[in-house]
């Protein structure tokens, strides 16, 4: 991230999130999908499903594909890598990636970086700028 001062938004308590399941959050008027994929590991991507235009990604099933932690959109079942936002299976459509946000878990508070947004186009298809680490990657 290009040195911009990161503002951390407190979103919810860790206990508000169920393991291996997503939840939607409203941050600065923006809809974000949070996934608790480990005891203290939370990942965040956009809630908007690019294929249906509906705000539903948090309601997909969490899984894995060749080592990547994934979510399958509940609408038309495209599969996305939760760490990088990349579309891993577009089911015959044009691949469209998800935005990701940095997440920090401090005590039992889950925080999302207000800056720290990484548009998939900017990281390049191979994630040249590196995927956003789940925990504390963009800590000031």
């Amino acid at each position: 991230m290009t040195g911009a001062q990161v503002r951390w938004h407190e979103v919810c308590g860790l206990d508000d999130l169920v393991l291996e399941r997503g939840a939607a959050a409203l941050v600065d008027g923006e809809q974000i999908a949070l996934f608790r994929v480990g005891e203290r590991e939370v990942l965040a991507v956009q809630q908007l499903d690019p294929y249906s235009g509906a705000q539903v990604i948090s309601r997909g099933i969490v899984g894995s594909r060749a080592g990547a932690v994934t979510v399958a959109s509940p609408m038309y079942k495209q599969v996305f890598d939760l760490r990088t936002g990349r579309c891993l299976d577009a089911l015959g459509r044009e691949p469209q990636d998800l935005r990701t946000w940095s997440v920090r878990v401090e005590g039992d508070i889950v925080m999302v970086a207000a800056e720290g947004l990484v548009a998939p186009g900017e990281t390049g298809a191979g994630g040249a700028a590196g995927p956003v680490d789940a925990v504390g990657a963009a800590a000031p």
């Binding site: 979103v11 508000d16 008027g29 509906a54 099933i61 969490v62 899984g63 509940p74 079942k77 459509r93």
Partner: protein, 862 residues
């Protein structure tokens, strides 16, 4: 050959041009040719055959053909949005509409056709459309949406022309909510493909979709309304049809204008005359696709065009290929109406025999055309049930094994789908000209181990898709023959099939996902995925009926099961209370109506005699259900892979003809099987006499009353591949009937594949229908007691999932719209009013806030 590449120019950027460039790049390994494609449309070639799917909301990208890399190849130049305007054969140049002049060494005309606009006064009015390009379809859709927003009644549409394209367009208009009429000049619909007998039935099937059909008449004039838009059709027979939109589908005209002007010969009805090498009289100029006139005719199908493209490429590279002759087999692409025609469909071969099976009641007409000795298949017409098409079409010109009439039997009988006996040179996929031998070789020589790999390797099944069932069968047979274990594994995490996993879990008694994955998963099993998780959830539900939202299991469910409602396209949900047997009291109706009113829900009666309430937001679901539960309703499980409905007719209590109490039985069956989780959704039906008003034979389990008891039918499926149920047992008394259904259902739940419905399950389970009969009626496997016990347990532990959820504050937390704003409505939801109710706004409507209504948000008063 010189080192410099030669210049090939292709005029037209359609499907045939795409195939030509693709074939050239695949075969011209030394880069002898550089190809320039001049395309008038503003986009790369796309799948015109699938154009209608653009209506169902798909974006233009999903129509793209082949690999996009093709157009980035340095040996290929694609010039979009430029029409060729002049051709100079002597100078060997082409001019485009921006004035650029390009030289060529070789030229291919692939300009296709344009829709024929009949010389009717008014055919140029706003609101009259043709149907050929993405732009045509986008304009048509925009017009219909705009008109329907401005009218307080459904839009009225007409399609002039009742051929393949006209019916497809009518279906598309109907899907947009338009009341559509098809006007056909000839005696019957699709008269170029099917005979009068098939045409009569087709008309009934089309009418059943809600489309009106007028035959034997022409349109004499199109009148404008007072705003100068299309308003009325006047027919030659004196009839009049009020319309808001018209689609012309009266045929196509080859785009031979450049060739004509350049002095090339054209056919009697247009088209650039070519020989069997697809070459014009000028040795440097070829034509391929719909614009080419070979033996006096132009062919309006993609398969012959692809074959021509391959011939031209072969010739460019020094080969001597000739056009192999056209396969004019066709299948109507209109969901709900199955029509196919192939080979000599009109029995024009001297001495040809016709074998016809017509069952107007069942809505099928099938005709085989056979040689004079009744052995060789020459062609056929299939209306109402074209499932035999994929198997029969490759057999044209070959002797049919066994009794030909066996091929006319209902789908599902073994004869209807040959596969094993198909000769290697029989064409399986006519769009891409792939033979059975090529498909088999993909498995034996190229190491393909599933249908997806074979499709990628051979291209079979990648265009219209009608041959995919046959390809699948061939691949399966070949893998078995090669001794390759066909991997029935679910996904990368579980190498077992659903049935194997079911048995394993039943035997080991494991009851949590992590335990099951540790024991039965693969090395990478860990977290599972959207395939194996719901399967495990379903198996666990079948085995001990724990609540679907209990502990770890909640994370296994997809969103429908997770929140016990059906996800709709905008992210809201629909709610269906159970109404056993479709019997509801007036008080119950009022209660449902009041809930719909209070929450502003869109209300619709379902095909299964239920009431579906649409537009409920996640956080509203518990409030809605609290009201429904208080009024005595329980979950209808419309969201689950589980028993959905038992549909019934009114039966002997009221009906003059009824011989048994259909409603009482339906209610009993529904209360018995409610909540039963299964590999796919399950539907039952009960009719009170042989008139079958409940359409029970379209259900997984259909019961039809007789004077002496009940006839039991199984394996009926609607949906994508409709099937009629087949008779399992006759004249059962009620207790034997219930026991037989119990066993049938548990046997299915335990042994079927993931997402396998009952019809294909019966085809594939050991012994087929006879095998199922032996297991459930004669206990041939000795498992009947076990099956009975499993169902008894299901009945005993059933509880209403919604009631249980409302009583549990922890479970209720998953209905928060946002984890940090649990009752805030999703701000992106937007609705418009239509026919007195709400529906989700289209993207265009969203852009114009003036038309939006608050929908399900503001109407709540609790």
């Amino acid at each position: 050959m010189s080192a410099l590449p030669q210049q090939l120019v292709v005029i037209g950027g359609g499907m045939v041009a795409q195939r030509l460039v693709e074939a050239l790049r695949a075969r011209d390994e030394t880069g002898r040719w550089h190809v320039t494609v001049l395309a008038e449309e503003p986009r790369a070639p796309y799948d015109r055959v699938a154009l209608t799917s653009y209506f169902s909301g798909r974006d233009p990208e999903s129509l793209s053909l082949g690999s996009p890399d093709l157009w980035g190849d340095p040996c290929v130049t694609l010039v979009r949005g430029r029409a060729a305007t002049a051709l100079d054969l002597a100078a060997r140049t082409v001019r485009t509409d921006d004035g650029t002049v390009r030289g060529y060494d070789r030229l291919v005309l692939a300009t296709g056709s344009r829709p024929t606009v009949p010389p009717i006064v008014g055919a140029d009015l706003p609101g009259v459309f043709v149907y050929r390009t993405i732009d045509d379809v986008a304009a048509l859709r925009g017009w219909v949406e705009e008109r329907s927003a401005g009218l307080d009644r459904p839009v009225r549409g007409a399609v002039i022309g009742g051929g393949l394209l006209g019916l497809e367009a009518a279906g598309a208009l109907q899907a947009l909510g338009t009341r559509t009429t098809v006007v056909q000049v000839g005696s019957h619909l699709m008269s170029a493909q099917i005979d009068l007998g098939g045409g009569h039935l087709l008309r009934r099937l089309i009418t059943r979709l809600g489309v009106d059909v007028r035959v034997d008449t022409t349109t004499s004039r199109i009148r404008a309304n007072d705003r100068g838009q299309v308003g009325r059709l006047e027919l030659a027979d004196g009839g009049r049809i009020d319309v808001d939109v018209v689609v012309l589908a009266t045929g196509v005209t080859p785009r031979d204008e450049l060739a004509r002007a350049a002095g090339l010969a054209v056919g009697p009805r247009g088209g650039v005359v070519v020989d069997e090498a697809c070459r014009t009289a000028n040795p440097r100029v070829w034509a391929a696709g719909e614009v080419a006139c070979l033996d006096g005719v132009c062919l309006g199908l993609v398969a012959p065009g692809y074959a021509m493209a391959e011939v031209v490429v072969d010739r460019l590279l020094g080969g001597s290929a000739v056009f192999p002759g056209a396969d004019t087999a066709t299948k109507l692409k209109l969901s709900g109406v199955d029509v196919a025609s192939f080979g000599d469909a009109f029995a024009r071969t001297p001495g040809a025999l016709e074998l016809v099976h017509s069952d107007p009641a069942a809505g099928v007409y099938k005709k085989l055309v056979l040689s004079d000795d009744a052995r060789t298949l020459l062609g056929g017409v299939l209306v109402g049930d074209a499932s035999a098409y994929a198997g029969l079409r490759p057999m044209v010109g070959r002797p049919l094994a066994g009794d030909p009439s066996a091929h006319l039997l209902p789908a599902g009988s073994a004869a209807a789908a040959p596969g094993g006996d198909l000769p290697d040179d029989a064409t399986v996929c006519s769009c891409n000209n792939v033979t059975a031998g090529t498909v088999r070789a993909a498995v034996t020589d190229h190491g393909c181990t599933d249908v997806a790999a074979v499709k990628a390797c051979t291209r079979a099944g990648t265009s219209c898709g009608s041959c995919v069932p046959l390809v699948k069968r061939l691949v399966g047979d070949e893998l078995l023959r090669a001794g390759v274990a066909v991997s029935a594994g679910l996904c990368e995490h579980v190498a077992l099939s659903r049935a194997q996993l079911f048995d394993a879990v039943r035997v080991t008694g494991l009851r949590t996902f992590s335990e099951i994955m540790r024991r039965h998963g693969t090395a990478v099993a860990g977290r599972g995925c959207d395939i194996c998780k719901p399967v495990v959830a379903s198996i666990l539900a079948s085995l001990d009926d724990g609540h679907v939202l209990d502990d770890e299991r909640a994370a296994l469910q997809d969103t429908n099961d997770h929140v016990m409602a059906n996800l709709q396209k905008d992210g809201s949900y629909s709610v269906v209370p159970r109404i056993p047997g479709g019997e509801v009291t007036p008080e119950g109706l009022l209660a449902i109506g009041q809930v719909a009113l209070d929450f502003g829900l869109y209300t619709k009666i379902t095909g299964g005699q239920r009431i579906d309430l649409f537009g409920a937001r996640l956080e509203q679901l518990p409030d809605i259900w609290r009201r429904l539960v208080d009024a005595g309703f329980e979950s209808g499980h419309a969201y689950g892979k589980s028993l959905r409905t038992v549909k019934s007719c009114v039966g002997s209590t009221w009906c003059r003809y009824g011989v048994q109490d259909a409603v009482a039985l339906a209610v009993r069956l529904e209360l018995r099987y409610r909540g039963l989780r299964s590999p796919h959704k399950l539907k039952l039906g009960v009719s009170g006499c042989a008139r079958e008003c409940a359409e029970a034979r379209a259900k997984d389990v259909g019961v039809v009353a007789t004077d002496r008891g009940w006839n039991l039918y199984v394996g009926g499926n609607g949906g994508f591949t409709p099937r009629h149920a087949r008779l399992l047992a006759e004249d059962l008394d009620t207790e034997s009937l219930v026991r037989t259904i119990d066993r049938f259902l548990v046997y299915y739940v335990r042994t079927a594949d993931r997402l396998q419905r009952t019809a294909p399950w019966i085809d594939e389970v050991e012994g087929g229908l006879d095998g199922v009969r032996a297991v459930v009626l004669e206990d041939s496997l000795g498992i009947a007691a076990d099956l009975d016990a499993a169902m008894a347990r299901h009945v005993e532990v059933y509880e209403d999932e919604w009631k249980a959820t409302l009583d549990d504050p922890v479970k209720l937390r998953r209905f928060a719209s946002f984890v940090n704003a649990p009752t805030t409505a999703d701000p992106s939801l937007a609705y418009v009013a239509e026919r007195g109710q709400v529906r989700p706004a289209t993207p265009t409507e969203r852009a114009d806030p003036a038309v939006l209504v608050a929908g399900t948000t503001l109407a709540v008063r609790s």
